[in-house]
């Protein structure tokens, strides 16, 4: 029983962590909380659905969805956010709300207002035995993929020139430009990475629900936002810790709350978040950002 809960908590927390990381990477570099991040998930979901309907094999459909989401994230930056460069945090936030609302309307009218079934391959839906406990294959794969994505991101940020420039830009972007490094490239890479992470998270999210709908990104993006704030806004390790913490709190409450109270679970979750922030207003692992005039 406990092992099952732990696997579920890590698998859900891993999805939140990937989403929160996407938000945190962009925030750390351009000071924007991209609420349209959820719509990137929706794009990933429908791309997978469409590709499968056209008979594209499952692995290719998955890669296509992730690539499409990365391109969509970069396009979002080019079209909506780049013209706003240098604007206040509030203006940027409002722009991202507008982009999110606009995309939702487009998806609802252009695609379908109703959820569409998107079945995962048979082998992902089974379970396996550990001792006498049944563990889902889906959540296990989800954990493995989350870990691989985290390690991949870490390697990118530590080992590549662009990754190093992104860490530097999170500290002091003007000085990165003084080094001769073009701002546009660092920002585009940040958005592309956030798109890749949103695409992976979307596929893991869809795998647990077996359907896609135009508003599928709305709830996870709020969860991811909570995770980034709990972890420490703009801090990448914080986003991971915040995501895992949120997953653990949700699954834990599902397990211990009496059935009549479970519908109010999110109220308990948010109370817990407020409690954490009361003691650590900068989040669990505050960002080490130096902002200068």
């Amino acid at each position: 029983m406990l092992l099952q809960h732990v696997v579920n908590a890590i698998s859900l927390g891993g999805i939140y962590a990937l989403l929160a990381l996407g938000l945190a990477i962009v925030f750390s570099i351009v000071g924007l909380i991209n609420f349209a991040h959820g719509e990137l998930m929706t794009i990933a979901g429908y791309t997978t659905l469409g590709a499968l309907l056209f008979g594209v094999p499952f692995p290719a459909a998955v890669l296509l969805a992730i690539a499409t989401t990365a391109v969509a994230a970069m396009a979002m930056e080019r079209i909506a956010f780049r013209p706003m460069r240098g604007a206040s945090v509030t203006s940027l936030l409002l722009t991202s709300f507008a982009v999110s609302a606009l995309l939702k309307v487009i998806f609802q009218n252009g695609l379908s207002a109703r959820p569409q079934p998107l079945a995962m391959p048979q082998w992902m839906t089974g379970s396996y035995q550990v001792g006498n406990v049944a563990i889902g294959v889906g959540p296990t794969i989800s954990i493995v993929i989350s870990v691989v994505a985290l390690v991949g991101l870490e390697l990118f940020l530590r080992r590549t020139v662009t990754g190093t420039a992104m860490r530097a830009a999170a500290e002091d972007f003007p000085v990165v430009r003084l080094m001769g490094i073009a701002a546009g490239r660092v920002i585009a890479t940040a958005f592309a990475l956030s798109g890749v992470l949103a695409g992976i998270a979307a596929l893991l999210w869809v795998a647990q629900r077996a359907s896609v709908d135009p508003l599928m990104g709305a709830v996870p993006v709020v969860k991811a936002f909570i995770a980034t704030v709990v972890g420490g806004l703009g801090s990448l390790p914080g986003a991971v810790v915040g995501g895992l913490l949120l997953g653990a709190i949700e699954i834990g409450l599902d397990a211990v709350l009496p059935p009549s109270v479970v519908p109010y679970r999110d109220a308990f979750v948010l109370s817990g978040v407020i409690l954490i922030l009361l003691f650590r207003p900068q989040g669990v692992i505050p960002a080490a950002t130096v902002r200068r005039g």
Binding site: V161, T164, A165, R167, A168, E171, D172, P174, V175, V176, R177, L178, M179, G180, I181, A182, A183, A288, V290, R292
Partner: protein, 253 residues
Amino acid sequence: MFAVGHAGCVGNSGSALIMLHAEGIKVRYGEIEAIHGVDLNVGEREVVALIGANGAGKSTTLNALCGLLPTVAGKISFLGTDVTGWAPDKISRNGMALTPEGRRVFGQLTVAENLMLGGAAHAGRAERVRRQEELLELFPVLRSRMTQKAGNMSGGEQQMLAIGRSLMSRPKLLLLDEPSLGLAPQMVDKVFDLIVALRKAGLSILLVEQNVGLALEIADRASVLRGGSIALSGSAEELASSDLVRQAYLGVH
């Protein structure tokens, strides 16, 4: 010795060719104009000092020259090209480097990563390794610190790193904004020794310093900035013996 890139100027050798020419530049912070039409020239292999009290507009001038701040009037030309309004990264790739006031090393990154980023837009991996080796001859203090976080070093070491990071781009002109600020006296000497060494290697330098005495000792020419305007310009010797500089900045009455 550290090799220095050559200016892309043509003309008679021997004469100090103008590398940087700024004319009438004005910069505004919101409604307030901070510099009111500053003129500056830096020639090839020349060290020019820009001196002035706190708030006179020295940093504003340097930041405008390297593209960090937009100018509202005036013209900046560098190596014969009009670079007015260029983005800072493009100006850097053209051969001008600024070591900003307050060092601004990337504190969360290692010393090696800081140096790497300094050359990232200017040289491939092999060339960066070569430049780094040359730099470490010039900055032996950094050699044992390469894998340390830059933020954990002393102010003097951070200043060495900040200058080294700028040099990784092999600039033709180096702008130094108060490199001795907040350093212990023996560190100040080390920084000035370094500037002298760079000058000997043929690098052109525009130096902003509070330490006017030392700055005038190593500079060829100097300008005094007062209240956002150039109050006085001339050779370093002329300025060192002028009443204005002696009274206001050298404390001689």
